[in-house]
């Protein structure tokens, strides 16, 4: 097994896949959006409770591969209790991280725990898995409703 593969499936990711955090619709959620990857059938719904300019609660439901489930799980942990503009910045930082050249440094130092997804950069076929929940979350944030798709 290659170093790249171990980097992709870090123990944090495997753990969040096995025991997803914030799984389910939080009571009082006032925003939601679905994320669908039509190519592989991954399907997630992200729920948010927006209070003023803050994401007070976040949760998700659905099914998908380890990368998409762990990404949704870690995302909900990362955005809970954050200001909306911070969440927007995290979105940009996360998206930037998984799509940059693997040989460069992870650009955003603010990502914290989310930087475990840096390994995805080596696997271009899996970028959509890692970003699925994030696209759905942003759709919910914009209150656009409906379905975010990776295609």
């Amino acid at each position: 097994m290659s170093a790249e593969l171990r980097e992709l499936y870090q123990s944090v990711i495997l753990d969040h896949n096995r025991r997803p955090r914030n799984f389910g619709e939080p009571a009082g959620a006032n925003r939601s959006a679905e994320g669908v990857n039509p190519l592989c059938g991954d399907q997630l719904t992200v729920y948010l409770t927006i209070e003023g300019d803050e994401v007070a609660e976040a949760g998700f439901e659905g099914s998908g591969c380890a990368i998409s489930v762990a990404s949704a799980s870690l995302m909900t942990e990362g955005i809970k209790g954050q200001k909306i503009d911070t969440v927007e910045r995290l979105f940009d930082g996360f998206h930037g991280m998984v799509t940059t050249n693997p040989r460069t440094e992870i650009p955003d130092k603010q990502l914290g725990k989310l930087s475990v997804f840096g390994g995805v950069r080596e696997f271009p076929m899996r970028v959509k898995c890692a970003t699925l929940a994030w696209h759905a979350m942003r759709k919910a944030l914009l209150d656009a409703g409906g379905t975010a798709t990776t295609e």
Binding site: R18, C40, C65, M125
Partner: protein, 425 residues
């Protein structure tokens, strides 16, 4: 490699050259892409059900066509065009003989199986289907044998009915028979399921469908590369398949149709090559098969396809079929011993396809891990979402064997699966 993987390999019976007269290792050398990769590793290609690799003779034939015998066909009076046309029409006869059709006019060149089925739906279907009529398909169909019929039924006010499969992935013939009615106009089904490998009893289904007065459309995409097909024996009315799964180039497909039916069907697409005379007052159409071949086809591709069929004939479909059956049995035995592996599709009659899930690991993660071990398989719903729904899985891993696969490929698959299970365990 783990102990589990070792046991799997020890307990399985390896197909050996002594049991069949087919030498896959030698055949493998005919396929340049299956050598070693840039890092000197053996290429383990187990995704031929999606598209097969091409032997050197096919690659050469395409190149030779462009460098020695290329001009548009059925158009020029000059010698080169005449030669290109003769070469093209010769492939039509090769296809005719390959599938046992009675007449080369029954062979229509299209782009792929999907286009062949759409042709039947658009031409035969639109002409012959009315409100209240029925199209009967099966639960195991590829999307390309579902969606064209849905579109047709919606347009014509007809009804699409679906014959169920059982948990082995076999068609429930009794249920199928019950769904036939005097309103059934078209029965469409796969010869071999792309997602499960199940082989349907084509002759029997055709007999039942004909007794009910329906025409029979067979999706033969997964059958033609793996076993001898004789359309007259099968007695089906239409038979669709693709060159690219049969070691030929992509972009070429075949629709076989009984001449008596094709002759009474309106054109599919309008354009050059399919007309007799064009006036603004009206146009008359060419005879079959040219009536269904509007526009310049993939001339060089069809040339390469002819060589692919010659290659298969030379190796012998019977030999290929018995070798692949042994290899599939070996693979079943080996995969059964992979911890947590559940086979999806265990039909008694099964060809080429090994669809499975690994407990606790999503198919896409399996696919990435296998790719990391340089084992190429398909993961996903395989364009057969109703099959995934039947088995209650979002996706499966699908390994499919072809004439160039050997027990070493299966051993590599098993080793990689055991390692994947351990990573996620």
């Amino acid at each position: 490699m783990s102990a589990a993987g070792n046991t799997a390999l020890r307990n399985a019976v390896r197909p050996s050259q002594g049991e069949t007269n087919f030498d896959a290792r030698r055949a493998r050398d005919d396929f340049p892409i299956l050598g070693t990769d840039a890092n000197g590793n053996r290429v383990v290609f187990l995704d031929s059900a999606a598209s097969a690799q091409k032997p050197q003779c096919v690659i050469d034939a395409i190149s030779r066509c462009y460098s020695q015998c290329y001009a548009n066909i059925h158009r020029g009076v000059y010698e080169l065009s005449a030669r290109a046309t003769a070469q093209f029409e010769e492939v039509r006869r090769t296809v005719q003989q390959f599938i046992g059709a009675a007449d080369p006019r029954e062979i229509v060149f299209v782009r792929n199986t999907t286009e062949a089925i759409n042709l039947v739906a658009a031409s035969y279907g639109r002409k012959n289907l009315g409100p209240g009529d029925e199209v009967l398909i099966t639960e195991m169909e590829h999307h390309s044998n579902i969606v064209p019929w849905q579109m047709l039924c919606e347009e014509r006010g007809a009804e699409l009915r679906v014959a169920p499969i059982d948990d082995r992935g076999e068609l429930l013939l009794e249920e199928f028979e019950k769904l036939l009615s005097p309103r059934t106009r078209i029965v469409a089904f796969a010869h071999i399921s792309n997602a499960l490998g199940s082989v349907n009893p084509v002759s029997e289904i055709t007999r039942l469908a004909h007794a009910a007065g329906a025409v029979v459309v067979v999706d033969g995409a997964q059958a033609v590369p793996h076993q001898p097909v004789d359309v007259v024996d099968l007695d089906c009315d239409f038979y669709a398949f693709s060159a690219h799964k049969a070691y030929g180039p992509s972009g070429v497909g075949v629709l076989y149709g009984k001449a008596s039916l094709l002759e009474n069907m309106p054109p599919y697409q309008g354009g050059g090559g399919m007309i007799r005379q064009v006036r603004f007052e009206g146009t008359t159409y060419e005879d079959i098969p040219h009536r269904f071949e509007a526009g310049t086809p993939d001339i060089a591709g069809i040339c390469g396809f002819g060589v692919a069929l010659d290659y298969l004939s030379e190796l012998g479909l019977d030999s290929i079929a018995s070798y692949e059956r042994e290899l599939l049995d070996y693979a079943h035995g080996a995969l059964e011993r992979v911890p947590g592996l559940r086979m999806i599709g265990t039909a008694h009659e099964k060809v080429s396809v090994l669809s499975f899930v690994l407990e606790g690991v999503h198919a896409h993660d399996v696919g990435t891990c296998l790719d990391n071990e340089r084992v190429a398989v398909r993961t996903g719903h395989h364009c057969a979402q109703p099959v995934m729904d039947h088995f209650g899985v979002p996706a499966t891993v699908r390994a499919s064997v072809a004439l160039y696969n050997t027990p070493e490929d299966i051993d590599a698959l098993v080793r990689a699966l055991v390692a994947t299970g351990e990573l996620f365990g």
